[in-house]
Symmetry: C2
Subunit: 267 residues, 2 copies
Amino acid sequence: MERSAIRNGRVIPEREAVVPVTLRAVQYSFSIYEALRVLHGQVVHLEDHLNRLRASAAAIGLVHPFTDKLIGDSIAALIKADSISDATMRILVVGGDEPLFFITYQDLLSYPDSYYSDGISCISFKGERYLPEAKTSNLLMQYIALEEARKADAFEALLEDREGYLLEGTRSNLYAIKGDVVHTAADDRVLSGITRISVLRAAKELGLSVSHEPIARKDILSYDSIFISATSMGAMPVNAIDGIALGRSRWDDISRICSLVRKWELE
Amino acid sequence: MERSAIRNGRVIPEREAVVPVTLRAVQYSFSIYEALRVLHGQVVHLEDHLNRLRASAAAIGLVHPFTDKLIGDSIAALIKADSISDATMRILVVGGDEPLFFITYQDLLSYPDSYYSDGISCISFKGERYLPEAKTSNLLMQYIALEEARKADAFEALLEDREGYLLEGTRSNLYAIKGDVVHTAADDRVLSGITRISVLRAAKELGLSVSHEPIARKDILSYDSIFISATSMGAMPVNAIDGIALGRSRWDDISRICSLVRKWELE
C-alpha cells in the first residue's frame, strides 16, 4: 500500500510530496524541519516540536502561514489516513514567497539493543554549524561528517569547534558525566534537542547536577562516561571517540536516564 | 507554452522537475549546481562550468554517473526542444544512492544599465562559507545575507570573515583596485568564479597585476575603486558598502574589464 503524506494541510499520496527544483527556497535550502515519534498512534512531545519549529523559523526569518493547529490537525489526519501506530514523522516547511509544508513518515527508527548495552563509537569532526539553534535543511556538513563516521565504522560524528570543544553530534546532543555532574554545551551553542530537555530533567531526578562547561576533545578520558541523545536514540553510551576507549563506570546512570526519557514519552 | 527541462538526460515538462522531500540527499542539501548563460543558442564557457561542477562533486564527495558528454548533450537537447536563444540555465546534481540530475532555465538574468553607470551598493555580513570551493545548495547563509541586503536597499551582501576581511559576495566575487593592482581573495578562500577567471585575465590585459591580499572591511576607503563579478553580472562597480561611499576613479577600468569579459563570452 502506498503511503500517504501531507502537503499544505491536505492528505496526498507520498509520491506527490515533491518540491520543484526551480523554487528559490529549494535552491537555497531555505527550509526548516522536525523529526518526531509516533507511538501507539500518539505523537510524542508534539508541543515541544511545534515550539522548536517556530524557533527555527524565527532564527532564519522564515515567515509562513501554517499554524500549530493546522500542523497538529494534519498529523492527526495522516495518522488516521494510514492507521499509523508507530512511526518516525517528519515535518518540513519550505520558505519563500509561497511557503510549502509537508509531513511524511517512515518506519519508526530504532536501534539494536547492543547499541545500548555495548555503546556506540564516534569520531570527532572539525566543523561549526551556522545558526546552531535552528533546525534547517542546511545539513551538508552533517552529511559529510556522517559519511566520515561510516567510513570509520563509527555511529556518529561529534562536531569539534575551533577551540577544540565537542559540542554536539550531527544528529544528537552530547554529554559527559564526571562525579555528580553532567556536562553538556551551553544552550546557545547547540541545537535545542527535545530529548535533551528530558535527559537533563532525568539527570536531575537521579541526583546529578548540570554544568554547561563544554567537553574538550583532549579531556575525553577525564570523564567517567560519555553519551549522546536524540529523539530516535533516547540516551546511548559512547564506548570510544576516534578509537580511544572511554570510561564505562556510569553506564548504569545512562541506562536509567534513557529509561526515564522513554517513560516520559508515553505520558 | 510550458517550458521543458531535463531529468537524468531526458527532456521533460518543467513541472516534472521535482525532487521527493523523502530523499535523504534532499533533506541534507547534498547537491551541487551550476548557473550558466546561453547566448544566441550557444552555451557560454561550458567546459569551465563542467570542470567546476566536477570540482564541487569532488569537494563534497558526491559520486554520480552523469558524464560531461551526457550533460552537454542534455543542454543541447533542451536548447533544441524549446528553441532557446538567450537564457540563464541551471544544472543541479542531487547526490545519494540514486543521484538525480536536472537542467532548468529561465529568462536571461540581466541588470539595468544604471547598475553599471551608477554602481550598486552592498552591505557587509559576518559569515564564512563551509567548503567555499564547492558550489552547493547549502546556501542558507547566503539567503539570509541577501535578505539583509534587500532590507537595506542594497544589491549584494559581502561576506566578512572573522578576521574582518571581505572575501566574496553571496553570489559574486569581490575585487578592489589600487594603483596598478587588483586585489581579490586567494583562490582557496572563495568560490572559483568562472567570470572571475575572465576578470583577472582582462585586468592583466589592461596592464594591471593581481594580488591575493584580501580586502579588509576597515580599509575599503583606501582603494581607488571596488567591484564585483558574476556570470549574470559581468563586472559591476560598487558605489557604497554599509552606506560608506567608495572611490570612483577607476570605474573606466571596471567598465573596460566588463566589456572584455562579455566579448570573450561570445568567442
